[in-house]
């Protein structure tokens, strides 16, 4: 039983209640809790016996009044219905990574299994506004690493984060961990509800935010530090110069966690941040193997196929070579032009110097073969 102190089943209702106190920042909660039993701490808060230095004069009274009015049964029922647990450092199931961190996470909400602390973990992060290439690279990395037994950690956001998890789930390898910024019962972004459920079912969903917490802006930098704390390596797939992923990188550097970046085209604004990281000396992640080498799970020079079972067999990989034989000269030419990076369809037709209908038909054929992808504005190699 988890955090067993009183009524059964106990899902950490006192910890959950403490997290819901007004203005309960991780730092205040850390001072309040230490390694003590949350039930006893809760009683102290309720009876006004809390040490004044924990949160200051005024919060002392506010917390006391709040605790007296709190409905623990409702919180317990909520945890029960979500099948969620709240843990503190007093629990054996509280991740060690968060206890010994620079900025510890004193209370953690969890759905799904307890993450395996011995498994190597890689955080895959990146921009929400990624290119199709970035999305497919994130999926391949997620699938490859998960297949190689690595825990893929990500933020469940749109774009790169979600793609990495989708890839890892599809590979059906090591369980994944998602760390989110809102309460476990507040799905954000709403479009990722399916992913949210899939991650809790097949892996772990973690959050520091109390139940019902909205995805407020300040929660995401706090979430990013948890990503960095959990990971052995952080891989940035696509990122602009500023943004959440770069913040995760800073947190990783503070913790001496290896940061790797996927190189991108100089014409791709979504790769500005990653290319900047590379120019500053960050090692490149061109394939799953590069990441495995950084983890010490493979040695440099291992061939892609031999390196790991699932790694090289990413979904897009076979298709890139398969169609080669059946391409007509115009299609070959279009592919060569696309090596230069994504362009608008208009520009591709112009550069191919072929009659428009023929070029359109050739591009259409390439797309059917899975060799060409489009986003709203541009076409690119898939």
């Amino acid at each position: 039983m988890d955090d067993a102190t009183g009524a059964s089943p106990e899902r950490g209702v006192h910890a959950a209640a403490l997290a819901s106190l007004p203005r309960a920042t991780p730092r205040r909660l850390e001072r309040l809790l230490g390694r003590q039993d949350p039930a006893r701490v809760w009683k102290k808060v309720q009876t006004g016996q809390m040490a004044k230095w924990v949160a200051g004069e005024d919060l002392h009274d506010i917390w006391r009044d709040h605790a007296r009015g709190a409905d623990l049964d409702a919180i317990a029922a909520r945890l029960e219905s979500l099948d969620a647990w709240a843990t503190t450092p007093a629990s054996r199931r509280h991740p060690l990574a968060f206890i010994h961190d620079l900025d510890p996470a004193p209370i953690l909400f969890r759905r799904g299994r307890v993450p395996d602390p011995t498994a190597p973990a890689v955080a895959i992060v990146g921009t929400r506004r990624c290119t199709p290439t970035g999305r497919s690279v994130a999926m391949e990395l997620g699938a490859g690493l998960s297949g190689a037994g690595v825990t893929v950690v990500s933020g469940l956001a749109l774009g790169i984060d979600g793609a990495a998890h989708r890839g890892a789930l599809a590979a059906d390898g090591a369980p994944v961990v998602g760390v989110v910024g809102s309460g476990l019962d507040v799905v954000y972004p709403r479009g990722n509800r399916d992913l949210w459920e899939a991650v809790s079912a097949a892996g772990t969903l973690l959050s520091e935010a109390p139940l019902g917490a909205e995805p407020e802006g300040w929660r995401f930098p706090a979430r990013n530090r948890l990503l960095a704390a959990l990971a052995d390596v952080v891989v940035v797939v696509e990122s602009k110069r500023a943004g959440g992923s770069m913040h995760t990188v800073e947190e990783a550097i503070r913790r001496a966690v290896t940061v790797m970046a996927v190189p991108g085209s100089v014409r791709n604004p979504a790769a500005e941040g990653t290319n900047l990281l590379l120019s500053e000396g960050c090692p490149p992640a061109c394939s799953t193997d590069d990441v495995l080498v950084a983890l010490g799970l493979a040695t440099a020079g291992t061939s892609a196929v031999a390196g790991s079972s699932g790694a090289a067999d990413g979904p897009a990989e076979p298709a890139r070579h398969a169609g080669g034989a059946s391409l007509d000269p115009l299609q070959q030419r279009l592919l060569e032009l696309l090596d230069d990076g994504p362009v608008s369809l208009d520009m591709l037709v112009l550069r191919a110097a072929a009659p428009v209908p023929e070029a359109l038909v050739a591009a259409e054929g390439l797309e059917r073969l899975g060799l060409l992808a489009r986003d709203g504005a541009r076409v690119m190699r898939a």
Binding site: T131, D346, R351, P357, A377
Partner: protein
Amino acid sequence: MLATVRSATLVGVWGHPVSVEVHVADGLPGFTIVGLPDASCREARDRVRAAIVSSKLTWPPKRITVNLAPSDVPKSGAGLDLAVAVGVLVADGQLEAASIADLGVLGQLGLDGSVRPVPGALPLVDAMENSSIVVAARDSAVAELAAPERVRPVNCLKEVFEALAGTEPWPVPPVARSAPPAESEPDLSDIAGQPLARWALEVAAAGGHHLLLVGPPGAGKTMLARRLVGVLPDLSHAESLEVTRVHSAGGLALPGGLITRPPFRAPHHSSSMAALVGGGTARARPGEVSAATGGVLFLDELGEFAPSVLDALRQPLEEGMIRVARSQGMVEHPARFLLVAAMNPCPCGAGGTVGCRCAPGALARYQRRLSGPFVDRLDLVVRVDRPDPADLLDAGPSTPSAEVAERVAAVRARARERGAVSNGELSGPDLERHAPLDRAATEVLRAALAEGRLSARGLRRVRTVARTIRDLEDGGHELRAQDVLAALSLRMRLDGAGGLVHG
């Protein structure tokens, strides 16, 4: 005494004959007009009196009653002024009744007795069968189109009086002004690069397919749209008359008399429903969709138009005409236009890609403004982007409009042989007969349907576009897989998440 003068009034874009009956009787001096006149028509009382007095003629100090027959047709505008004035003069005995026996009279009066042009002169004159028709001199060019040799252009009421009294001959019609040099239409050769958009333009012109250009600001969407008219063939005589009639009825300037080139109308996105489809309180005047009939209706910033206004375009897009009902009756206006629309992919313009600053929600909202059924009617949806200057240098000279116009005319001629104005109007059985699919093409379409890329309407539209594409190439009878694939490529789907999605 009673006098009856023939004239006409506008109902929709058509003229309707009107008899102006004037009765002058002894009694307390007064002036009444009956027979469904609108406000400006009722004001004729004051204009007519002033014009007669200013022309040094006698205003009878008697009881004057004017009846506009038939009494169930609403009369509007000031076009009946001159007829009322002539009627008063005849009824008062200042002119012989015989002098107006077979005379039609049309014109607005100024207080000084001058005769002014009226909107809709072409359909109005068309409605009058009299052997001579008096019109304002400035209307004579247009009136001549409907009633050659029967028009008597005049400048003022005095001239009419003298001609009818027999003291002076009818004024000589002004020498037909040579039509002002046709405004040169912008040429396609001004546009460098952009082969895809240019080709889409050619397909749109050749097949009469509605076109939507999506792209960031500065990509040349408006430039492209304006050049569409230049590749369309001249209007046929029947089309010319129809277009001129609509423009005349709508009170639009007709500098050269008959309109022979397809019109280009570009209403602003703040336009109201009434401005676009036609309207007015009592009588529905033709709106922009009718003014664009036979030509191009260009809607720039499509996403900024009120959704209800756009949905009102569905009937004209489908049926080539618009039916507008107002308090005093329903009218049908012609509205057979080629729709060209342009829009940014999202509010910021960068288009759902990495440079875009719009929240995903804002993007979806922006595109949800266009209803599915409306977008479904746009056969060609094409992405336009700012060309890369380096490529423009290599691109070489662009095809001029004249060359494209030749190909367009050839395809249109083929469509006429099939019994349609354009391929875009082929439907049902005609499609089966004139646009048969070979086996591979059927497969391609079946796959597209299975993927959910096409609706049933979309399927029909793709087939007509493929017909046009084949016609542009060699006019072969059967549609091949490549024709259908090219047609599918020209039909991107608007999608909330990524701006445009191919499909």
